[in-house]
């Protein structure tokens, strides 16, 4: 059947079973939007800024196991999308972003709304394509979805010139796709897996360290089974929250710059470390030299060979899909009666429990000022620990990670790698659309929320009953904290001036707005918000400005050099 390029694009999205297309129209994509209008299988969500379109597709992908899809126009549409694309790239999220481009004949002639989209996004995509022939569209889109989803996932951009979308050709959606230059490893090396098991069984102070890879690889079940069978302590990174149940006793909490005391100490003093789907990021291990100063054997399971031994030398690298490798490890473990030494494990756990007794996350909620940590704790209680929680970036993000105990993967949606302020609200839109009827909370700050506040309109248009939990401390909190600790309290440009009345702003957009000033009102406000199943409720919690996120590992310091409270300063 002969179709236009635009028709082919839409048909391809239908073949890929795309539910929602997040986008914003413009000149270069008018033919595509025309075809979109004529069908109803792929539902378009009109955002109010292209950055939000990509963040929404991102939130959709993070909370499901599907590829998020966004459509933007050329020039400013594409450049607005770059932040969203880089956010997805840094966290390895599968996205396909389709961007319009100026007609082929004028490419390179500084046309209206022309930018070198492929050139600009090259460093922040997994791969990108510029389609030069209408006959290549179907194949390219098939490849785009394949690349986005397989191996280490990532955003793929497809740039399509306007004239190509108007040309016609015969359409057939390819059934299979194969690329001789791209063959991600799925199965781990059997010999390495056996070696890993031997190390684990012989460990005296073992530790399991999991990251975003466990969530992205849908390996939480197998990981949980393995950790429980072995009886080892487990810690997760910011991106790995929910990969192992937080309420389980074997979970020693998040580790890293704002991790718990027990997690950081156990990570440092363990003798065998099993790293699964994590990349030894600088926020996690602190100073690499200090980390290497304790002798330990490291097993590293990751789908991306370039992540292995990049920052920390490992002893047993295993390249493969986490779910596959863990499956094999479990099978091997089931096939033997050998188990780790109970006595050493007992001594190790005693040490960990002693570290736990420091109660590093304890805070004091008084009568007068709302503590931000208290709001998160109450949020966790009110939602039964089962909501989807998206976050912006800063102190509120760290408190959400510390005090909301995630037992399930794909519930915690935040920009970890790039740390993009403005991610919270648009990503919540994608999450809510993917999970209609489920409670979705967007934990944010008064600075972050303003970066994409216009999306309150999108939420209204699509009736998305998101609960915005805003921790308003009238400061760029994390910046202020660093300025307090490292820059002699010189709060340069970190005070948030001229804030709007957020409750009224939310109401102006057609939502429910509630301002909370007293600790006694926090729980009630949250319950009220979550009981309203059809309304977006914007909660403006006026919180204590002086609170800092503890524990804190200073940049360049070792994991064990934690600042535990204001007294340590």
């Amino acid at each position: 059947m002969v179709l236009t390029g635009a028709e082919i694009v839409i048909r391809c999205l239908q073949e890929e079973k795309v539910d929602y297309l997040f986008g914003y129209p413009g000149g270069s994509v008018l033919y595509i939007y025309d075809e979109l209008f004529k069908q109803d299988k792929v539902r378009h969500v009109l955002v109010r800024h292209e950055q939000a379109a990509v963040h929404a597709a991102d939130g959709y992908a993070r909370s499901t196991d599907k590829v998020g899809v966004a459509l933007v126009t050329s020039g400013p549409g594409a450049t607005n999308a770059v932040t969203g694309i880089a956010t997805a790239y840094c966290d390895s999220i599968p996205l396909v972003v389709i961007s319009g481009q100026v007609p082929s004949a004028v490419i390179g002639q500084d046309a209206f709304q022309e930018v070198d989209t492929v050139g600009i996004t090259r460093p922040c995509v997994k791969h990108n394509f510029l389609v030069r022939d209408v006959r290549d569209i179907a194949d390219t889109i098939k490849k785009a979805f394949y690349l986005a989803k397989t191996g280490r996932p990532g955003p793929v951009l497809v740039d399509i010139p306007k004239d190509i979308t108007a040309q016609k050709c015969e359409f057939e959606y390819p059934q299979t796709v194969s690329m001789r230059s791209y063959n991600p490893v799925v199965k781990g090396h059997h010999g390495q897996i056996k070696k890993a098991l031997q190390l684990l069984l012989g460990a005296r102070r073992p530790m399991v360290y999991i990251g975003g890879g466990v969530v992205l690889g849908d390996a939480a079940d197998k990981l949980t089974a393995l950790v429980r069978k072995l009886g080892f302590p487990c810690t997760n990174t910011l991106m790995g929250l929910g990969g192992y149940p937080a309420t389980d006793r074997q979970n020693v909490g998040m580790l890293g710059m704002h991790g718990t005391y027990e997690a950081n100490m156990a990570m440092h003093y363990c003798d065998v470390l099993l790293a699964v789907g994590a990349r030894f990021d600088d926020r996690v291990i602190g100073s690499p030299a200090h980390f290497a100063s304790e002798p330990r054997k490291i097993i590293h399971v990751d789908i991306d060979p370039s992540s292995i031994s990049k920052r920390v030398k490992v002893d047993v690298p295993i390249v493969g899909h986490v779910d596959e490798v863990l499956g094999e490890l479990l099978a091997l473990l089931d096939g033997t009666t050998e188990r780790p030494d109970e006595e050493s494990l007992g001594v190790w756990w005693k040490q960990i429990e002693e570290w736990r007794r420091r109660d590093c996350l304890k805070f004091n909620q008084g009568e007068e000022l709302i503590k931000p940590q208290f709001v998160i704790q109450k949020l966790w209680e009110v939602t039964g620990g089962d909501a989807f929680v998206t976050s912006d970036v800063g102190q509120h993000q760290m408190w959400a990670a510390q005090y909301y105990k995630f037992d399930k993967p794909r519930r915690w949606i935040n920009s970890g790698g790039l740390g993009t302020m403005g991610f919270g609200l648009p990503s919540a839109m994608g999450v809510q659309l993917a999970h209609p009827g489920s409670p979705v909370a967007c934990v944010t700050g008064e600075a972050s929320i303003q970066m994409n506040i216009q999306e309150l309109a999108t939420c209204r248009q699509f009736r998305l009953p998101i609960k915005v939990v805003m921790l308003n401390n009238r400061y760029l909190g994390m910046v202020r904290q660093w300025q307090e600790i490292f820059h002699g309290n010189r709060y340069s440009e970190s005070y948030m001036d001229s804030l709007p009345d957020f409750a009224r702003l939310a109401e102006a957009y057609g939502h429910v707005g509630i301002r909370v000033d007293k600790p006694g009102d926090v729980e009630g406000a949250l319950r009220e918000a979550f009981s309203r199943k059809n309304d977006l409720v914007f909660l403006d919690f006026q919180v204590d400005q002086t609170e800092n996120v503890y524990p804190m590992v200073q940049g360049g310091k070792g994991l064990t050099d934690m600042i535990l409270s204001a007294e340590d300063l």
């Binding site: 090259r122 510029l130 230059s181 060979p305 370039s306």
Partner: protein, 163 residues
């Protein structure tokens, strides 16, 4: 440590950009880079000379493999290999210098491929070291232009980089 990395890459527009972009984005050093199609026109072969510690070069190799269009990567420096580079050098060859320059070219097994009353263009192939020596053997005042291709390399013996 100097490493010669050879890779086979899909012959698509932008492929060279991706590789050079990778090096600059991650702060790796490119001493020289050459690329041209292979006997299979859909594939290009690229030779990159870089330097760094073994860890850095290991990362470079892994990052190159990660690029979607890269089919295969080999570090030629890991075993016996051959390196060759081509140089075209235009020299002032007037009067008594003509004889001397011709002798130099012969000694280095170079060929004079362009002749005028006052200039010669000499074509020379060899290792980077040989080309360097030729340039320093000549009187600097006589050199008008040097154009070098960058080195390309292939493994010795029966080891083959094939797709």
């Amino acid at each position: 440590m100097r490493h010669v990395i050879s890779l086979v890459i899909e012959n698509e527009s932008g492929a060279l950009s991706r590789v050079s972009g990778l090096f600059s984005a991650r702060g790796y050093n490119i001493e020289s880079l050459t690329v041209a199609p292979t006997e299979d026109a859909s594939l290009s072969r690229m030779t990159i000379v870089t330097s760094g510690s073994d860890d850095i070069v290991e990362q470079i190799t892994k990052q190159l493999n990660k690029l979607v269009e890269v089919v295969k990567v080999v570090d030629l420096s890991e075993s016996a290999h051959i390196e060759r580079e081509l140089m075209l050098i235009k020299v002032r060859a007037a009067g008594k210098d003509r004889e001397e320059i011709k002798r130099m070219a012969d000694i280095f097994r170079g060929r004079i491929i362009d002749v005028t009353d006052t200039t010669y263009v000499i074509e020379l192939t060899g290792t980077q070291a040989k080309l360097d020596s030729f340039v320093s053997a000549l009187d600097a005042a006589l050199i008008l232009e040097t154009v070098r291709s960058g080195i390309c390399g292939v493994a010795r013996g029966d080891r083959v980089l094939k797709v």
